[in-house]
Amino acid sequence: MANRAVPQRPNGQTPGKICQFKLVLLGESSVGKSSLVLRFVKGQFHEYQESTIGAAFLTQTIHLNDVAVKFEIWDTAGQERYHSLAPMYYRGAQAAIVVYDITNQDTFERAKNWVKELQRQATPGIVIALAGNKLDLNTMRSVQTDESQTYAYENGLLFMETSAKTSANVTEIFKAIAEKLPKNETTNTAGQGRRLVESEGANKSLSSCCK
């Protein structure tokens, strides 16, 4: 395994505040979830990325002005039968990236199902980003940008087309999520927004984890 030398962000000045967020990646098998994370965390890309079994855990910090945003990333297995394990991973997550492959319409449909499930069952107020990955294979595209854009808009999702291979929009999508996450200093839930409160207080805003 490569050294865990995290590419240093520019302007690596001492941040005034550190915010920690749990982020989960969901999506059909081989759409590029692990590759997006690998690109974001280590700046690397492997043509043949090992299939993720269960889930993998990584962290990466980015800086927004004077705030250091630390992502605790759970990268999950994509095969349908691993679905029953997914709620364990998105439980308490403050953000999610739902990934599909722009060359494969089925993966977009699967992504929509993930969005529905998250909106129904995950932490209320969770920030969801939709990533149309494999933008480097634009010539083989089968999911049109307009279609995804409209869907994302209607469902209140962040949306970007990304390429883990060329790194297009990879840092950008995490940055957009970081910007959208609440960074109020008043709340500090060490367990990272662990339990979702059902029924009463629906849409109760997320508690962030700032220190």
Binding site: I53, E72, S84
Partner: protein
């Protein structure tokens, strides 16, 4: 004899990680290689007297001390019950299964997964013969076991079996014996078996190391987050390769209870560090790192301690717990259904 520098690639074709601890490994190997030579001679004598590999206390003890690489495929096949399966299904089954068509979706996912199986292993390079063989094995397996079809993770198991046996058909039968006889329902469409076993594991931890269990609970960390890969990949890609193979030696002889022992050994050895973790993230990091540390790397000590320091763990206890957990899950499901209905 041993040289002071080890290659970047191990004897199984795996590229050693950049942070591989060569110093620690050399220290261990200087002792272990002598042991291996010694055991190899003992194994040869044993097999002269017990060529059928009839199960007995002596053979079991030998398996626990490690099967020499050259004998591994033969011993795994003999002690695991492959012959019984072959007798039941006929020796030509593999060839028949190769001709049987399989579901298109399953074929597609196998096609995508084969090139991503041990991509760093020199024997699994793109378009290598091993990749083609692995593809055939996984398709034949899906054809003969439509209940399972293909579950991600089986690629790693079949891939490692292939590296050890270097024989397509042996690999197919060993994969079958693992999935159909040794492990309970891990890879089925609902993955019930693995979900149950992870819960069983969590109860065993609670019984044997209550403070770790309490700590995991306090931090809201379900065991499945770390242990799914342990159970699904049988520690391949989790523990160092030699240790994984030593675990598999025991697994083929003694059955699935061995997996629990390995997990409990890891918990026991790293208890202090786990208890020092203050949140899920540090726990996850801790679990990720411990498996590559010197203790699991020293496979000989690891396996020895796993049988001497965990206490008794009979199959009957595991099966009782499995029944108990399954019954609770069924009850939960029906309550849920009734509530919905």
């Amino acid at each position: 004899m041993t040289t002071s520098t080890f290659s970047k690639t191990d004897e199984y074709g795996f590229v050693r990680p950049d942070d591989f601890d060569y110093v620690e490994y050399e220290k261990f190997m200087s002792v272990y290689l002598n042991l291996l030579t010694n055991y190899s001679m003992k194994w040869v004598r044993l097999l002269l007297n017990n060529s059928q590999m009839k199960r007995n206390a002596k053979l079991k003890k030998f398996v626990r001390t490690g099967i020499p690489l050259v004998l591994r495929a033969r011993v795994w096949t003999s002690v695991s019950g492959v012959q019984k399966l072959k007798d039941r299904y006929g020796p030509d089954m593999y060839k028949q299964m190769l001709r049987k068509p399989i579901n298109e979706d399953i074929r597609n996912i196998i096609t995508v997964d084969v090139p991503r199986t041990y991509p760093d292993n020199i024997f699994f390079h793109p378009n290598s013969e091993n990749q083609k063989t692995l593809f055939r094995i996984l398709c034949a397996f899906a054809a003969c076991n439509p209940e399972v079809g293909y579950c991600q993770g089986l690629n790693y198991i079949a891939g490692l079996l292939l590296l050890i046996t270097k024989n397509e058909e042996s690999c197919f039968w060993l994969l079958r014996v693992l999935v159909e006889n040794i492990l309970p329902d891990y890879y089925s469409k609902t993955m019930d078996g693995v979900i149950v076993d992870i819960e069983v594991f969590s109860r065993l931890v609670k019984k044997k190391f209550p403070e770790v269990s309490q700590h995991m609970n306090d931090l809201d960390m379900p065991w499945a987050l770390v242990a799914t890969k342990w159970f699904i990949c049988l520690f391949s890609e989790v523990l160092p390769i030699e240790t994984t193979l030593r675990v598999w030696d025991c697994l083929f002889y003694e059955g699935s209870k061995v997996i629990f022992r390995v997990g409990l050994m890891l918990v026991k050895h790293y208890k202090k560090e786990l208890l020092e973790c203050e949140d899920i993230a540090s726990l996850a990091e801790c679990f990720k790192s411990i498996v590559q540390r010197p203790f699991p790397l020293n496979c000989h000590i690891f396996i020895k301690q796993m049988f001497t320091e965990i206490g008794s763990l009979p199959m009957s206890l595991i099966n009782d717990l499995r029944r108990q957990v399954s019954a609770e899950r069924d009850a939960d499901k029906s309550t849920y259904k009734n509530r919905k209905g």
